[in-house]
């Protein structure tokens, strides 16, 4: 009887190993899909960053688009345009009120970059416009040609001295 029990156990152990799956370090599989996008602009267009004016506690930054980006996306889903405007303020100030508009009007109150410090001295505003693609290889126009975008920040309690305006922006400007 022992050999029968042994054979039965061997079969059951083999079945259990197959069901439990591979526990080694390995690549199981790659999903054979790709993800990519292409942005075109009118030929020889030059990017223009946000311009900044103003001094002390109030800084105004404005920019005007002069052309229109067209997006081609290889997949379906959403593609977003991100605009970052960052103000570095010496002092430091005790409060900040920062806003961008008008195309970002719906995000003015809560549009902060994920992970950015929401402290006055390193105020970073990140706004995005999302375009949804329902078909592969669909194209869509981004922000329209003549819209004006602006960002301003009002720093309260800033100490004497110059407010540094370090604008880091990838604004649509073409």
């Amino acid at each position: 009887m022992n050999w029968k029990i042994g054979l039965t156990l061997a079969v059951l152990i083999a079945a259990a190993m197959l069901a439990y799956g591979d526990q080694d370090t390995l690549v199981r599989f790659y999903v054979p899909e790709s993800l990519s996008f292409t942005i075109t602009y009118p030929a020889t267009t030059v990017f223009i960053l946000f311009q900044s004016t103003g001094s002390n506690a109030v800084v105004n930054a404005s920019n005007q688009t002069s052309a229109q980006p067209i997006i081609t996306y290889t997949n379906t889903g959403n593609i977003a345009e991100y605009y970052y405007v960052k103000f570095n303020v010496s002092g430091p100030p005790s409060g900040i009120n920062m806003s961008c508009g008008p195309v970002f009007a719906s995000w003015q109150s809560s549009c902060w970059c994920q992970g950015s410090t929401n402290s006055p001295a390193n105020a970073t505003k990140c706004c995005n416009i999302t375009t949804t693609f329902s078909k592969m290889n669909e194209t869509a126009t981004a922000i329209s040609a003549t819209q004006t975008m602006w960002c301003w920040a009002n720093f309260t309690g800033a100490s004497a001295g110059t407010v540094e305006r370090n604008i880091t922006s990838n604004a649509s400007s073409t």
């Binding site: 370090t25 990519s36 290889t74």
Partner: protein, 298 residues
């Protein structure tokens, strides 16, 4: 009763094995090898039928100049077979693939054919046949494959690769830096109501992994009007799971940022208006490349 069932099952297996072993080979006439066909007089053996061939790249029907491909390595005869295996997800070791394969635009979905509507030409080929008038491709890149699924035992490390490429129609040089991120939520697609694949606490998960991306930064080269030699790069992510990492599923993603400032300065000086920095204002709503890591229980 259970004992009898096990006993019957074992006996069944034994009988099955015995039956297979006892199969007799068919008899063949004396003097004839069992592997040779028996050919009688006035008959000729039929030729060996032609097997299935996957072929290789054939650009003769593209209707575009072959100068477009002049900077690329020569493609190999087994390209078709390799691509079929890639399309089926059979290739597990991308890191060792020959660049003669992955530097060909045909390696990537959507160059030659639309992957969904296969009767249509792909976006890549269409860009050369019908380039947009009065516009130029300024920003664009992608990854193929875009998702990988791996198992890594806690304490072990594993390298996974993807091919990071300039998009079709791009005329600029794009400077990019690479790192790792741990997205809080990962979905099956970017569509509304897509299936949620993973949720994680990003800062906590970051403490479980050590990730090295090679190269750490790169200059993506143009794909228009001709393909540059380095229009696509093999990107390797070496992922180490720290000992003591709780078993479970995690997502490690490719993060795209800036190259080192001094390197970027040199690139700007060399390429001037044809240089585009990282931090493009566009994003596809998910990382270009994600690795779904399963850490098994010991």
């Amino acid at each position: 009763m259970a004992k009898n069932t096990l006993l019957l099952f074992s006996v069944f297996l034994l009988v099955l094995f015995a039956g297979c072993a006892a199969q007799r080979k068919p008899e063949t006439p004396a003097g004839i090898s069992p592997t040779q066909p028996v050919v009688t007089q006035n008959e000729t053996a039929a030729p060996v039928p032609e097997g299935t061939k996957f072929g290789t790249i054939d650009r003769s029907g593209y209707g575009i100049s072959m100068e477009i491909f002049k900077n690329l390595p020569l493609y190999r005869e087994d390209f078709g077979s390799l691509k079929a295996a890639m399309d089926r997800g059979l290739i597990k070791n991308l890191c060792n693939l020959s660049e003669e394969h992955w530097k060909q635009p045909e390696f990537y979905p959507n160059f030659e054919r639309n992957p969904i509507e296969k009767e249509k030409i792909g976006a890549g080929l269409n860009w050369f046949r019908n380039p947009p008038k009065g516009r130029w491709g300024v920003v664009g890149y992608g990854a193929f494959p875009s998702d990988a699924y791996v198992t890594i035992v806690a304490g072990d490390a594993l390298s996974v690769c993807t091919f990071f490429h300039t998009s079709w129609g791009i005329e600029t040089y794009q400077g990019l830096g690479f790192g790792a991120s741990y997205p809080a939520a990962s979905y099956a697609s970017e569509e509304v109501n897509a299936t949620l694949l993973n949720l994680q606490n990003s800062s906590e998960v970051a403490g479980y992994f050590e990730v090295a991306v090679t190269p750490g930064y790169t200059l993506m080269q143009p794909t228009f009007p001709v393909f540059s030699k380095d229009w696509t790069k093999k990107l390797e992510m070496k992922i180490k799971v720290k000992p003591g990492t709780p078993p479970g599923g995690y997502v490690v993603a490719l993060d795209i940022g800036k190259p080192p400032a001094d390197v970027e300065e040199a690139w700007i000086a060399e390429h001037l208006a044809y240089y585009v920095g990282s931090g493009t204002m566009f994003g596809v709503g998910r990382p270009m490349f994600r690795v779904f890591v399963t850490v098994p229980a010991k």
